[in-house]
């Protein structure tokens, strides 16, 4: 689940819990508030009555021992009664009690208080019907509930907006720093703008990690480059020595054959070293991309170079590439080697009398070249590893490769931002699809 969703979900749930709790508590709270309010009101009424009794005298209310009583005639919401109290004990209470008023039993909240005037005890009762008290409860409850709900929705919305805003740098860090990163990185470090220090920390940490990876890559490339350079001179010396010895007349054919063997092995060493050097030079971006390359012409040159190999296995090679399209910003030498190696593989892993088809097409501004062979194919387990250096899976029909052909292809393709897709079915053949990043230009 996304962090943003989680935060929103948590916020919503926690707020809902609070709302539910509050709604559950609301009746109790409101009842309490009402009761306090009513009690205060009753006390005020009581004080008023007592003041009147004091100023006007008790006789005004009680004549000939008859109690005073007053209530709202119709609805019996409130009543006041003043009477002679027979009991002697002190009463001052507020209680819910039932009273019978004109034949109706009504639940009242009743303040009862007795007091003395002269030697006589009097009892004062002031009541308010419970129904009246509760009348306000429901609307109050509703208003409170509505306001609360509105506020909760508002905060959830605000939370949502804010969390989206605050989490945006995280998405940006992942998008720009982590997804689809290729090494060596060609773009310089660009800080992701954020006011959240945690994200800043993350950004800086990722950047540090990238630097470490970069420098490791750099070291590896430098090592390969230096190692292959250092090997060049000794190989050169050995090669010259063998050549000079081979040219001598006074050695036997037997020695010559052994020299030949040495030369073959030295050649193998030389090829490996040169290839590694080439790969490291490509990876160190030591090549320019300033050529305009006509793919059809280039394939023609590769064909000339490679035709002897086609002839030897009697392989038919069909090239259908638009003749008038040029690719800008390319390196001809490298592209030549890319196609040479791909076609060479298509020959090497092909059967006698097999076929190779090379189709080029420029559709929707996308230039693709598809090389299909009828060879032995690549098994699905091997397919993800074919571009790895020194990996040899299928023993070729003549065992004379050292597994750097496709790594060269990959390096050159990466250098030109060419995407390669490989499809293969063992026994049926393989298809290498090259997607060129640049739109070809029509040759004038």
């Amino acid at each position: 689940m996304k962090l943003g969703t989680k935060l929103t979900l948590f916020n919503t749930i926690s707020k809902l819990v609070i709302v539910v709790l509050f709604v559950l508590l609301l009746p109790v709270l409101i009842r309490d508030i009402n009761r306090n309010y009513t009690d205060n009101w009753l006390r005020r009424q009581q004080d008023k009555v007592l003041r009147q009794v004091h100023t006007q005298g008790i006789q005004t209310f009680i004549k000939n021992g008859e109690g005073y009583g007053s209530y709202n005639a119709l609805l019996k919401e409130e009543y006041v009664s003043l009477d002679i109290d027979s009991a002697n004990d002190q009463i001052d209470t507020i209680l819910n009690e039932r009273r019978l008023v004109e034949g109706d039993t009504i639940q009242y909240r009743i303040l009862s208080r007795n007091f003395k005037v002269g030697n006589q005890n009097y009892l004062l009762e002031i009541g308010r019907s419970i129904d009246t008290i509760n009348e306000t409860t429901t609307p109050l409850q509703n208003i409170a509930f509505e306001i609360l709900l509105g506020m909760v929705l508002l905060t959830i919305l605000a939370d949502q907006v804010y969390s989206t805003y605050i989490l945006r740098p995280l998405g940006r860090i992942i998008r720009t720093k982590l997804i689809g990163q290729k090494f060596p990185m060609r773009t310089p470090y660009r800080k992701v703008h954020t006011s959240t220090s945690d994200f800043e920390y993350l950004d800086i940490s990722i950047h540090k990690m990238i630097q470490t990876i970069e420098s490791t890559f750099q070291k590896e490339r430098e090592f390969i480059s230096n190692a292959s350079h250092e090997l060049m001179t000794p190989i050169s010396i050995l090669q010259s020595k063998i050549e000079n010895m081979f040219g001598r007349e006074d050695i036997t054919d037997d020695v010559k054959e052994r020299l030949l063997e040495m030369q073959r092995i030295l050649n193998r060493l030389k090829s490996i070293t040169k290839t590694l050097l080439l790969i490291s030079q490509i990876e160190n971006e030591q090549f320019l991309k300033e050529d305009k390359v006509n793919i059809a012409e280039l394939l023609g040159e590769v064909y000339d170079e490679i035709s002897i190999r086609l002839q030897q296995k009697n392989i038919q090679c069909n090239i259908n590439v638009p003749p008038d399209l040029e690719l800008p910003n390319a390196n001809k030498f490298l592209l030549f080697n890319l196609f040479f190696n791909l076609i060479n593989n298509a020959i090497k892993y092909n059967h006698e009398n097999g076929e190779i088809t090379i189709n080029g097409s420029a559709e929707d501004k996308l230039y693709t070249v598809v090389i299909t062979d009828t060879g032995i194919g690549i098994s699905p387990e091997q397919l993800p590893h074919i571009f790895n250096r020194f990996k040899k899976f299928t023993k070729s029909l003549q065992q004379d490769s050292f597994g750097l052909g496709l790594p060269i292809v990959k390096s050159i393709a990466d250098f030109h931002n060419i995407r390669i897709e490989v499809q293969s079915e063992p026994g049926k053949g393989s298809t290498f699809k090259l997607f060129f990043p640049t739109e070809p230009v029509k040759k004038k």
Binding site: L277, F340, F402, I408
Partner: protein, 227 residues
Amino acid sequence: MNVLIVEDEKALTTEMELFLSGNSYLCEVCYNGATASEKIATNLYDFILIDLGLPDYDGLDLLKEAKKYNPEAACIILTARAEVDDRIKGLDLGADDYLPKPFSLLELQSRMQAITRRKFGLKNSVVPLGEFNIDLTNRAILYRETVVSAITKKEFDLVAYMLLHKNRTLTRSQLSEHIWGSVVNDDYDSNYIDAHIKNIRKKLNVYASPDWLETVRGLGYRVNVNN
């Protein structure tokens, strides 16, 4: 022809000297830039072979000096540091060729020969070979006055290379290196040379027997010229 070899790797200079002397070049050897600089300023050479990776001198500076004091000399840069821009810089500074290490001595001689032909205008660039004539300037094989048009560029390259190193057995690796040297691929032992030779023989046989092209059993091929 006078050749100055500037190379700090003694084992390599020994072989270069041996080989070039055997092909009638007069060689002088310098193991460092300082001596080379002196020699360039005082003597005249036809060829100056400069290693870019000298311990005491920037090979490119030496190239500049050579161009100044020995403007007629052909300069070939030899280097193990096959940096791409070194090559461009070297050729910009007037080097006539650029040979990255490890190079074959046969290739070195072939390059020198090509420069000689280009630069010093070798008069007789049509060489008779059996009943054929090899036109090195126009890169064609002629039978009497007719061009053998079936011969491809690669096939001509092979014949010309063997002709240059006549009476010497060239191995398949040496021939491969010459014609496929610039291609980087992962084959190290190919027998495509045999196919090429077969084609050359077939194409020439239409006119006359190319009996000068000999297969040296187990070793390679050679072009025999008796004179």
